[in-house]
Subunit: 178 residues, 4 copies
DNA sequence: TTTT
DNA sequence: TTTT
C-alpha cells in the first residue's frame, strides 16, 4: 500500500527568500509563508484569528526561480511534502523542525508582486521528478530559515551551474512555463 | 487574498488511536501515521527509504469514528491542516510540535483492517464546517500523542454527548456515509 | 476500499454567477471558470496556451455567498468533485455534461474583485457536511449554465429560507469566516 | 494570477488498461476508474449510492508503468488535470469528452491487486515536468477508452523508445520509485 | 465567457 | 515575519 504526503498552501512570504548553494552547486531556497484562519468563537461570539507560519524549502531550479521572483509579501501557491529534521539549537538542545519541501509553485498576483515592475504576475513551475528524492539532509544542521548562507557558491559545481543571482531572466526563460 | 493550509495524507497507524474527552464533552482522538518515500540515490545508485511520522488530531464525531474503526496498522486517507503547538517537555524546555488537525477521513482497506471482523472496509466522513474552528488549544499542553487522557468524560457534556466508547455501531451508523 | 473524487481549481469567472432556487427553497449557483496552461512546444519552440472551462455548481449557503460576492473576472479557489449529468440538447440528442460540484470556496483578490467597492478581498467558506450529499439531480435537465432560472423563489421554502438576493451582507455575516 | 487545474482520485479500474503508441513513439494509456459516494437521503432516510466513472489518460513512462502494473479491479491513487476534448461520435454528432490527464500515480494494494502474484503492492511515480505539456490532442479523435490502438508502434520513435510491452520489469525498475 |  |  503506497503512502502519500502532500501539502497544499496559499500564503504570503514574511521576508524575502534566501537562496544558498550546496557544495554540489545545487540551489536551496528558504522562506516562510503565513496562512491564517478566522472563525467566530462559539462561546464569546468574537472573531478569532490564528496565523500559522510554514517553513518552505526548495531545491534546484525551483529554488532559483523562487529566489528571483518572490519577495516579502508575495502571495504564492505551493505544493510539497512535510519533512521533519533534527537540529541542535543554540542552547545545545536537540529539537525537531518541520519543513515543507515544495515541488510546485505558482505565483498569485498580489498587489505587492506588481510593485517590482515585473512584466508578469503569473507563474507556474513544476519540479522535475528527480527532485522528489530528498536532498542531502545533513547539509541542513539548523532551521534553514535561520541558517547562514555558504560563503560562496562552489567554484566547480557538480552537475549544474547555478544561475548567477544577477543573471538576466532570459537565462532561465526558455523552459519555465510563464 | 485568502490563504490555504491543506494536508492530504495516506498512511498507516503506528499504534491504536487514543480517544479522550475535553471538559465540554467533546472527543479528541490522537494517533500517528507513517508515510514513506523511496528513491534511488543519485550517487550510490542505492535504494533509499525515508519514513515520516505525522501526529494526527481529530475532534468531535470524527474523533469518535476514528477511535471506533481505526487501529494499529490501519491504512487511512486523511485531509486536514498543519497546526503548530508550543509545549513544555519533560526536561522543562519549550518546544514546538506540529500536528495535523484532520477534518476528513477515509478508511483504506488494508489486510490488517479486516482482522477485526468488521463487515466493511470502506469509509468516508467529512467533518462539519464548525469543526474548522480550532478547538481550545490550551487543553493540549503536551504532545497530544504522549498526553494522558482525562480521568473521565465530563458528567454534563456541553452541546453533544459523546458516544460511549462501548456504544454499538448503530448509534452513529445513521449519519456516517459508510 | 474507499474512493476519492476531489477537484481543486483556481481560475477566473467568465460571467457573473447565476443563482436559482429549487422548489424546496435551496439555492443553486452556476458559473464557469477558466484555467489555462502554457508551455513551450517541443517541436516549434513556440509558446502555446490552452484554456479549459469548468462548469461550477454550488448549493445552499455556498451558492448564496458565491452569488453575492463573485462576479465576472473574479479569481477564486474552489474545491469539489466531478459529477457527470445526462441531458438532452436542443437538437434532441442526449449528451453528458461534466460539472464541478464545489463544496469549498476562497476568494482570491484579483484586481477586478475590488472594483465593486467591497471592503474585503478575502473569503473562505466550507460547505456543511450534509451538502456532501448530491442534491436532486433531476432538477437539472439541461447544462446548468444554460438553464433558465425558475420564475420565482418558492413561496414556502422547505428547511431554509433563501437569503433574498438583495439582502444586506449582515444577514449572513455572522457565520461565514471572512 | 496563475490558475490551477488539479484532480485527485482514488478508485478502481473497470477494465484492464490499454496502451497504444503515438507516431512519435510515445506511449498512451487509457482506462477508467470508478469512484462512488454514498449518503442517506434526507427525505426517505434511505441509503443512496452514486458511482462516477472517470476516463484516465496517461502519457510516456507513466503510461507504460500503468500498462504493466494495473489491471481490472486495481485500486489506484491518481493526480492530474481535467481536459476536455471534442470528438465525433459514431452517429456523426460532435460531443465533448472529459478526460483526466494523470501525471502522478500510486498503486493502492487491494485484494485484487495481489491476485497476480506481484511481489509488491505499492507504487509511486511522478511524471517528468515536460509531460505537463498537453500531448498532441489531434491524435485523439474519439473517446480514448473506445479508441482502437494504432496498428503498430512506430519504426523509429522520436526521443525515447517505448518499453516493449513484453519487456521484463527490470527494464524500468531502475528509476521508478517502488 | 476570464485573465496575462 | 505576511496580509486584511
Amino acid at each position: 500500500m503506497s503512502s502519500l504526503n502532500k501539502v497544499i498552501l496559499i500564503g504570503r512570504l514574511g521576508r524575502d527568500p534566501e537562496v544558498r548553494y550546496m557544495p554540489n552547486g545545487e540551489a536551496v531556497c528558504n522562506f516562510s509563508i503565513a496562512t491564517s484562519e478566522t472563525w467566530n468563537d462559539r462561546n464569546s461570539g468574537q472573531r478569532q484569528e490564528r496565523t500559522e507560519w510554514h517553513n518552505i524549502t526548495m531545491y534546484r531550479r525551483l529554488a532559483e526561480i523562487a529566489g528571483q521572483y518572490l519577495k516579502k509579501g508575495s502571495s504564492v501557491y505551493l505544493e510539497g511534502r512535510i519533512q521533519s529534521r533534527k537540529y541542535q539549537g543554540k542552547d545545545g538542545i536537540e529539537r525537531t523542525a518541520y519543513d515543507i519541501i515544495a515541488s510546485e509553485m505558482k505565483m498569485l498576483g498580489g498587489r505587492n508582486d506588481n510593485s517590482g515592475g515585473a512584466p508578469y504576475d503569473d507563474g507556474g513551475y513544476q519540479q522535475q521528478s528527480y527532485q522528489q528524492a530528498p536532498a542531502q539532509q545533513n547539509y541542513q544542521s539548523a532551521p534553514s530559515y535561520q541558517q547562514e548562507a555558504p560563503s560562496a557558491p562552489p567554484a566547480a559545481p557538480a552537475r549544474r551551474a547555478p544561475a548567477a543571482q544577477a543573471a538576466p531572466v532570459e537565462d532561465i526563460d526558455d523552459d519555465i512555463p510563464f
